[in-house]
């Protein structure tokens, strides 16, 4: 029922490496780069940017610790009542960019009829949800900016179920710390409860008025204009309410966990 793309287990940022390589091919200026390389070696500055510092275990531990501290700062900075800006339909980015940790030809295809959203953890009603059931819940729409950790941004139009209402409907423990998401494309991530209850956090079922296409996460994704793109999982298979830190696909490799905008 769920066709998973064939991939090597990705211990590193394979997608980013491919992207880097692609850019190198498009943009590389060999002579200038070689000159730069030599100038830098002459200056002995390579020590500053070389592997020594980046690979040092204690330095990485310190950086990870500061990143967790920044999670706390961002949670403190997060205003549950502050809304991300919304835009007119004329400002929607077309085509809206596809982005994932795999290529566009490897998009996971989920069978909508067989789809069951499973509910786990600190929830009163753990009954699984079918797609028609989700579509029958009250829906809202938003035209908001999606900000990628890489730096680009794009404006899109998403429709679906406000997540706060859904969590209350299933009797989730709203005092729990985390919501963890597991996805059909093997992606996983997690968010804080404050953001989960934010008015613009949405279980997204449509894009631009149409059923959410596979490239944007069919049958359902999570949309949060208050967080960076990698915090917005696609092809969601399960939702778990928990007090145990769940981490995430990119977060476990070094991306900041809170990832707020």
């Amino acid at each position: 029922m769920i066709k998973k793309p064939n991939r090597l287990p990705s211990s590193l940022d394979s997608e980013l490496i491919i992207k880097d390589a692609r850019r190198e091919l498009e943009l590389a200026m060999p002579s200038r780069r070689l000159f730069g390389k030599r100038a830098l070696t002459l200056g002995g500055l390579s020590l500053l940017s070389g592997c020594e510092i980046t690979d040092n275990e204690s330095v990485n531990r310190m950086l990870t610790k500061i990143s967790r501290m920044n999670d706390g700062v961002q949670a403190w900075l997060f205003d549950p009542d502050k809304l991300a800006p919304t835009y007119p339909a004329s400002m929607i980015t077309r085509p809206f960019p596809f982005n994932a940790f795999y290529g566009e030809d490897e998009i996971t295809e989920v069978d909508g009829e067989a789809y069951r959203l499973s509910i786990k953890g600190l929830v009163a009603n753990k009954r699984a949800w079918t797609l028609p059931e989700l579509r029958r819940l009250p829906q809202t729409e938003q035209i908001t900016r999606h900000i990628c950790v890489e730096g680009w941004s794009a404006i899109g139009r998403w429709g679906g179920v406000p997540f706060a209402g859904f969590l209350k409907h299933i009797g989730a423990d709203l005092s729990a710390k985390y919501i963890a998401f597991r996805c059909a494309d093997d992606y996983y991530t997690s968010i804080d409860m404050a953001t989960a209850l934010h008015a613009q956090t949405q279980l997204t079922l449509t894009y631009d008025g149409e059923i959410l296409p596979p490239k944007y996460g069919f049958p359902m994704k999570l949309r949060m204009p208050t967080k960076l793109g990698y915090k917005n999982p696609k092809h969601i298979a399960s939702i778990e309410v928990t007090n145990t830190y769940p981490g995430g696909y990119w977060e476990d490799q070094g991306y900041n966990w809170f990832g707020g905008a």
């Binding site: 590193l12 940022d13 980013l16 490496i17 992207k19 880097d20 850019r23 190198e24 943009l27 590389a28 200026m29 780069r33 730069g36 390389k37 830098l40 390579s46 500053l48 940017s49 592997c51 510092i53 980046t54 690979d55 310190m62 950086l63 990870t64 500061i66 990143s67 920044n70 961002q74 900075l77 997060f78 205003d79 502050k82 991300a84 800006p85 900016r145 900000i147 990628c148 950790v149 890489e150 730096g151 680009w152 941004s153 204009p225 208050t226 990119w250 490799q253 070094g254 991306y255 900041n256 707020g260 905008a261």
Partner: protein, 206 residues
């Protein structure tokens, strides 16, 4: 610690740079180098213009690593910068060192410098070009922090976001402010190389 208070003509042994100034200068230099090198790596993940920074010149190894460096060193840059500004303004040093500053004096000193005639009678007193350069780079660092905050927290800090002309524009402002900083550093290092005793003064105070 002897704060420089040049009421009388400074003696050769008088302190040019007090300890707090030397300390904040070198902490700032360290933080700025980390911010620029990791920033170049972050830029490369989604370049604004059709060029990339050579990988060998960047810090962090990959985007996630560069972001960790950037968001760690930002604390050093901001806290150290605030301490520098506070002491500089409250002690009256900023006013004594950087003012008065008149356009005619800047032009005059700039032309003198081009002719190689600018005298360094005393390291204790900045010429008009120095005054302008240092004030500009302080303003530039403030702009870097403000535009950086607008990029980092564009939803939570709407005032800064609008001030910078939106999220995408804040990135462009951040990028050009970095360019100005790099330009300053290059000129600064060249000038120090031409007048090496300025480096001694920034290390031992006189």
């Amino acid at each position: 610690m002897n704060a420089a208070l040049p009421a009388s003509p400074p003696s050769p042994t008088a302190t040019v740079h007090p300890v707090w100034l030397r300390l904040t200068h070198w902490i700032n230099a360290f933080a700025v180098v980390i911010m620029i090198l990791s920033g170049w790596r972050i830029y490369n993940a989604s370049p604004i213009f059709p060029f990339l920074f050579p990988k060998e010149w960047t810090l962090g190894g990959w985007l996630g690593g560069a972001l960790q460096w950037h968001f760690a060193a930002m604390w050093l840059l901001a806290i150290n910068g605030l301490a520098y500004l506070a002491i500089n303004l409250l002690s009256g040093r900023a006013r004594r060192k950087f003012f008065p500053l008149r356009p005619a004096a800047v032009l005059h000193d700039f032309l003198q410098a081009l002719k190689g005639k600018l005298q360094h009678a005393s390291l204790d007193q900045y010429n008009a070009v120095q005054k302008l350069a240092y004030l500009s780079v302080i303003a530039d660092l403030i702009l870097i922090v403000v535009s950086g905050l607008a990029v980092w927290k564009s939803v939570q800090l709407p005032l800064l976001r609008e001030l910078m002309g939106g999220f995408d524009n804040a990135r462009i402002v951040h990028f050009f402010a970095m360019n100005f900083l790099v330009l300053f550093i290059v000129v600064h290092i060249v000038m120090v190389a031409l007048v090496p005793r300025t480096l001694l003064a920034m290390l031992r105070g006189r």
